[in-house]
């Protein structure tokens, strides 16, 4: 299955990528599994995704938890805690 992945703010700068398409095994998956697959690239990827307390997720533009289920075509965003207002 194909997932569109977005990175924002400090996280985007850390990994040097704003968006990419990622192929995941199986028909369904979770944010946690996607996170592990990306972190397995090592280097900046692993460092960026290691600090779980500083990570927030969204699936199809709604805030989500790591156990959220993913299906093909979903848009998943990784970002630090928000600081607007």
């Amino acid at each position: 299955m194909k997932i569109k992945v977005l990175f924002f703010a400090a996280l985007r700068e850390q990994v040097g990528v704003a968006s990419e398409e990622i192929e995941l095994p199986g028909e369904t998956s979770t944010i946690a599994a996607l996170c592990s697959q990306i972190a397995a690239r090592g280097g900046a990827w692993q460092a960026a995704l290691a600090g779980k307390k500083m990570l927030r997720f969204a699936v199809n533009q709604d805030m989500a938890q790591p156990d959220a289920l993913l299906k093909s075509g979903d848009e998943v965003a990784f970002f630090p805690p928000v600081t607007g207002g």
Binding site: L6, F8, A58, Q61, D62, M63, P81, V82, T83, G84
Partner: protein
Amino acid sequence: MKVLVQREDFDVGAEVEALARGNPKVGAVASFIGLVRDVNDDAAVRTMTLEHYPGMTERSIAQIVEEARTRWDVIDCTVIHRYGELKPTDRIVLVAVASGHRGDAFEACEFIMDYLKTRAPFWKKEQTPQGARWVEARTGDDDAAARWKK
């Protein structure tokens, strides 16, 4: 209900005026304006760049406004949040709520602002004399949002 995410500045007077115009049911309009300060965490701030997640930003603010409508008498509401490069004294955000009475207007306005600070996907980056840095989320903002939980 009006939700705008834009680079441009906004006219506070015109926005607040528009909320009550021609509606005799409106007895109160409460508004909040957030501005860029020239100092944060003991460092001078030269400019501030606001990044956001287009699409989710508008969607999350609309959801926050809808939640406020279920809890208070909100006749109309305007939320405008800017992004891009801003400098000290620039306006960042406007939340204005029109209601029958002041209690609902005040509370709904504060609720929208507290939720926006913890749920709307914006990130601030400050340029200081020591270099650029991303603003870190404050636990006080989470506490402010949590107190609205029933």
